[in-house]
Symmetry: C2
């Protein structure tokens, strides 16, 4: 699946989302980041709706569940409410957040970030598409800005992108798990209580170009050799600290077989269970990268230089107890058909970021995970059975209805 944010494929699924939810009696609002809010009215029009949300964009070589499952579960919720003629006290809605993956425009969860007023609208609008996303031929020669891409597919809305202009009572999100935890334990539902901390960096290493055939190793300041060492050390240190460190993008200049690269730029994604773990990892890596850079090229008096640019800083998040309670109760009801219901679910911490991270900064939020094969996501092999998807959708539906009752019974 390759449905990059704001591509023609994304436009198609957006048009489908609008048509489908309108046919279910919803009013659809599009904001200045292209976020789509489909709202089914409740008895009371003076209170914000409770939302189910996720995203419809994918990685360049993504799967069929990451993101889409959460939006489809929201639509399924709307269908069930219609079919059963259920009225809620407050409205209920489904939201499709734009560019959650950060694959085409390199800031993940950027549009829920703008909605939460954590990222300025201008910053988001001026993000340029990543040149390595080869499926978009424009990317290399004249990268599109996010604003221009929104305009091109006619999804630059006039409503401000903000939690004050589009308020929510709460935000629930269903997602496939992204490590083989539930699947290996034979469990049906994960009640997500927290999200680990993460930071995204761009690391620039500068050395000196030289000829591969006639420059001895002692006379080189090879930016790629230094970068390769940094990649190896990053994993070693992250492992030691119980964290993760990953490199996903590498640009090598000048990019010729017989020229030793004088410049390398690579992405670095570091994560840890708590913000403090990531702080410690960050400090150790900076020290180690400096040492590696200083070593390469010292013989010619031109040691490599390393620069860090912080692109995303996402501290650890704890979800809202009211939402967690609703999800837990809904889960217990759903798994009650198992012989051992108590062993069929667990609380879990999310390794990945989600739009729920940003919504949780403004409104009560929590998430639901369902098992997926081998815990693989961001890959075509991503797979959850129909039964696993039904479990998740049932939990989301019931959690929203419970939350609706709870908020007006207080």
């Amino acid at each position: 699946m390759a449905r990059l944010a704001l591509s023609q494929e994304d436009k198609q699924v957006r048009d489908w989302f609008k048509k489908t939810t309108e046919a279910l009696g919803c009013k659809v609002t599009v904001d200045a980041m292209g976020n789509m809010f489909a709202v089914r009215p409740g008895r009371r029009g003076d209170v914000p709706p409770t939302f189910v949300g996720s995203h419809l964009d994918t990685q360049p070589t993504g799967g069929r569940y990451d993101g889409i499952l959460g939006v489809c579960a929201g639509i399924e919720m709307l269908k069930v409410l219609e079919e059963k003629g259920i009225e809620t006290e407050g409205g209920v809605g489904v939201v499709n957040w734009t560019n959650e993956e950060g694959a085409r425009f390199p800031k993940s969860m950027v549009s829920s970030g703008v909605w939460a007023e954590c990222i300025p609208l201008a910053t988001a609008h001026s993000l340029l598409e990543v040149p390595t996303v080869a499926s978009l031929p424009s990317a290399a020669s004249s990268p599109d800005s996010m604003k221009s891409a929104l305009e091109k597919i006619n999804y630059l809305g006039t409503v401000p992108c903000s939690y004050t202009a589009m308020p929510m009572a709460a935000h629930f999100e269903l997602h496939i798990e992204q490590g083989p935890h539930l699947i290996n334990a034979g469990q049906r539902v994960g009640v997500v209580t927290a999200v680990q901390a993460s930071r995204w960096y761009r690391i620039n290493v500068t050395g000196r170009d030289c000829h591969t055939g006639s420059t001895s190793f002692e006379h080189r300041a090879d930016a790629l050799y230094a970068s390769a060492k940094m990649m190896i050390r990053a994993r070693e240190i992250a492992q030691k600290l119980g964290c993760l460190a990953s490199v996903g993008i590498v640009d090598v200049k000048p990019g010729s077989v017989n020229t030793v690269p004088g410049f390398v730029s690579f992405s670095l994604d570091i994560r840890g269970p708590e913000s403090e773990n990531v702080n410690v990892l960050d400090k150790e890596l900076r020290k180690e990268f400096e040492l590696i850079a200083a070593e390469e090229g010292k013989n010619i008096g031109k040691p490599c230089r390393v620069e860090w640019q912080l692109d995303v800083d996402s501290p650890a998040i704890t979800f809202h107890p009211d939402c967690i309670e609703c999800v837990t109760e809904a889960t217990m009801a759903v798994v009650s058909d198992s012989p051992n219901p108590e062993s069929m679910y667990r609380t879990i911490r999310s390794g990945a970021g989600h739009d729920s991270v940003y919504t949780s900064k403004r409104v009560p939020t929590s998430m639901v995970f369902v098992p997926c094969k081998d815990g693989v996501s961001h890959h075509p092999e991503e797979f959850s059975t129909p039964e696993e998807c039904v479990d998740g959708a049932s939990v989301i539906l019931q959690a929203v209805v419970r939350y609706d009752r709870k908020r007006f019974s207080k």
Copy 2:
């Protein structure tokens, strides 16, 4: 300097080369690879000319001497012969070889290779430009073939590219040194007697894409991590064997900050003084790369796989004794104004490949090196003083005249 082969900049310098050499009384022939042969007739029309040759293309971030110096020295030779009214017995010529660098079309010395009938014309014509050469906007979305690029700048000649269609008596080439040997020793001229062996590979490493935030290191088959380890090991082993190993191009897929790369393709350039050294290095690297690939991903039963593709195989070359003799005699004449002439030159082995490698397979060939600052090439800092350039041009002129006399006095 960025004058990539068959770019608009290359067309400009080619037009200049044609106009300039024609004004000096030469006939210019363009062959099917765009090689340009400017010939000044000698007394006899029934024998092949003696050529001075090099190339006018550069690396993406190249310097002002690599290649161009050799062609300009040839033109200077033509000027001096004209000015002094010197007639040669056989003709003398200057050749500009196409795409020597292999920077835009990834096969270096490809056009002298076709001329020597070591590379099939069809293979060369169908070479596609490298997408990472960012200065050509077409490269990423719809890469040009070499034949199409030749047509576009009107340099697809009708004369067959072959040593039989365009015969030479001998080939001499002046080049800047590409390691700090002459410059550090305070010497003026290098008499090049041999060229080290080299091989270019494309290494493809396949693992599995997965999410950076939720996949533990044990559950990864990270193609980039494995590749980084290979890059480090390649240098260690090459160093141990007295050889060189270098990586200049890296493509990482899918290329997203939060996806662990499932595929990496990188160039590997290995060199050694003799062909046998390169054989040994090749064997050791294959063994080591297999081990590294097998280790990464073994926990999930999906170890990385590594594939080798040989793009260029250039065995070690020894130049022709007649040419070496002419260059040595010319050098002794040129440096005779030094207080200690004998210490002003040395014999030297070329670390880099040159068009002279291919010409040497068909006709007597040798090369001349002059010092350059820090031995740096393939970089804007590349620099030789005017005096150093004059030394080289004087040696080339005298070597050609001596060779012309020698061949007819036998």
